[in-house]
């Protein structure tokens, strides 16, 4: 039963993420991404990580995707004639996209094959309660955790800078 649910949810997550990049309507993309997040949350639940599942739904499902929907609606991107998402990928950007994807694939397989070579993977495997998670996150792994948050912060600032430059160019034209 749990196995069947796992495969169903895995299939849902894969189909959902494919729909995110291939669908023509941005709203469909956002909703597919939401569906993917739910499938992932169910997989976390099956693995016994209640807190992770709830955090996934709360943060990604409840806040981030609402924000995405808000932006899509505010910019009125909801018209299907805007073209497929794939058209945005021109030749200049293609190598970077491939490089990023290749890196993700390598990382994923390294995680799967290495089985616990990633720091913290062993401890997490038999951890269930929120207290244990908090102990790991704010105890032994405080430094990596904070480093990751600073990395994310840097990425957010970088995105704002990039987006802003594109905007002024568009106005000049």
């Amino acid at each position: 039963m749990a196995n069947l649910l796992f495969y169903l949810m895995g299939l849902g997550a894969v189909i959902g993420s494919l729909l995110v990049v291939t669908s023509k309507n941005p709203i469909t993309s956002v909703l597919s991404l939401l569906g993917t997040f739910f499938c992932l949350a169910t997989i976390y639940l099956l693995a016994g990580f209640q807190f992770l599942a709830a955090a996934q739904i709360l943060v990604y499902g409840g806040a981030i995707m609402v924000l995405f929907l808000f932006v899509v609606m505010l910019l009125n991107l909801g018209h299907p004639e805007e073209g497929s998402g794939l058209e945005f990928m021109n030749k200049r950007r293609m190598p970077f996209a491939f490089a990023a994807s290749a890196m993700l694939i390598v990382l994923t397989f390294a995680g799967v094959l290495g089985q616990g070579s990633a720091p913290g993977a062993v401890e997490l495997a038999h951890m269930a309660t929120i207290g244990d998670l908090a102990g790991l996150m704010f105890g032994s792994f405080l430094l990596p955790f904070e480093a990751a948050s600073i990395l994310l912060m840097g990425a957010a600032v970088a995105v704002i800078v990039l987006a802003k430059r594109e905007r002024t160019q568009a106005v000049e034209r």
Partner: protein, 341 residues
């Protein structure tokens, strides 16, 4: 087997009670508004009009199903269902009462699920109700609906932050996310405030309580923050294009969300099903105590709606980001200091 049967029975009873309570709330809304405005209100269907929700329901079912031209059909139908389902699901972890009975040594507690992440569950699943409003507003293909949906989105995100910080203050004090344990902690004798007041979190976290209650108004899109509907500007807001039972589902969702939020307020801040100074209160007394407190907060929702004017949208945003969020942050900081000392 008997335990499974008891669980199914609990699910049926709690969901049935919640939907009935939502129906009764619509009547209460009209009767309370009439009372506040010196009118009589609906009193013709059944004694004192108590069968009015039933009559409304039958009317809604017989109305024409209508999908406007250019609307996204599937999302248009999905939206009200989402709105109601999210509110109904979030009630699953609310502890309505203590121990009902024991079957074969297994205690049967008056809540559908006793999750370790109870408080998070309510916020996470309840927060999904907003998708009903956004998608309904977008799928209707009407500018009024879209504006309603957009406003609801921004409002929801702004106030969810402060609300979660208020819950966090209680969680930090109680050291658990399990709602039943939070109630039990408030009930215990050594948590008494100043030695004589009941150990309710409202006495330890007055600021969080006030902020939380106001945030629940914003989260449920109720007056004075009901910008998603805002009849004077947006016709009917996100549900302008809705008719028949789909329209009614939005309302069931809204009233269920109000009830769940009242339950959360009572559970987090007012000792839930515990009775002050009577720790070993029997199950029914505990349940009655819980329902009494929830009824008060439901009345507060109606009372505020018919007493206060609507905010302006910029006032709402200023209040959320420039007043509530800093206050909630200061509160969590002070709570953290107090807990760690």
């Amino acid at each position: 087997m008997t335990v499974l049967l008891a669980t199914i029975l609990k699910v049926v009873v709690i969901f049935g009670a919640l939907i009935s309570a939502a129906g009764i709330s619509t009547l209460a809304e009209r009767r309370v508004s009439a009372w506040i405005q010196h009118r009589i209100g609906p009193n013709r269907v059944g004694p004192f009009g108590v069968l009015q929700p039933l009559a409304d329901g039958i009317k809604f079912i017989f109305k024409e199903e209508f999908v406007p031209e250019g609307a996204n059909r599937w999302l248009f139908i999905l939206a009200p269902a989402l709105s109601a389902a999210a509110a109904l699901m979030s009630v699953a972890v609310i502890p309505f009462g203590g121990l009902i009975t024991e079957i074969d040594g297994t205690p049967i507690l008056m809540s559908i699920a006793d999750l370790d992440i109870g408080a998070l569950w309510v916020v996470a699943i309840g927060g999904l109700g907003i998708y009903g409003v956004i998608l309904g507003g977008w799928a209707s293909n009407s500018k009024y609906s879209l504006f309603g949906g957009l406003r609801a989105t921004a409002q929801m995100i702004s106030y969810e932050l402060s609300m979660i910080l208020c819950i966090l203050a209680v969680v930090a004090m109680s050291d658990t996310l399990n709602l039943r344990e939070i109630v039990n902690l408030q009930d215990s004798a050594d948590s008494r405030c100043f030695g004589f007041l009941p150990g309710w979190n409202i006495f330890y976290q007055p600021l969080a309580f006030v902020l939380f209650v106001i945030c629940t108004f914003a989260e449920t899109n109720r007056h004075p923050f009901d910008f998603a509907e805002c009849e004077s500007e947006l016709v009917g807001g996100f549900h302008t294009e809705y008719s028949s039972m789909k329209f009614a589902l939005f309302f069931i969702g809204e009233y269920c969300a109000m009830i769940v939020m009242s339950c959360m307020t009572v559970t987090l801040f007012l000792g839930g099903f515990s009775v002050p100074y009577w720790s070993e209160a029997p199950f029914l007394i505990g349940l009655a105590s819980f329902l009494l407190k929830v009824t008060f907060f439901m009345f507060l929702f109606l009372w505020v709606r018919w007493s206060l004017p609507r905010f302006r949208y910029d006032q709402l945003m200023n209040l959320g980001w420039k007043v509530f969020l800093p206050l909630a942050l200061v509160n969590i900081l002070l709570t953290g200091l107090a807990v760690s000392l």
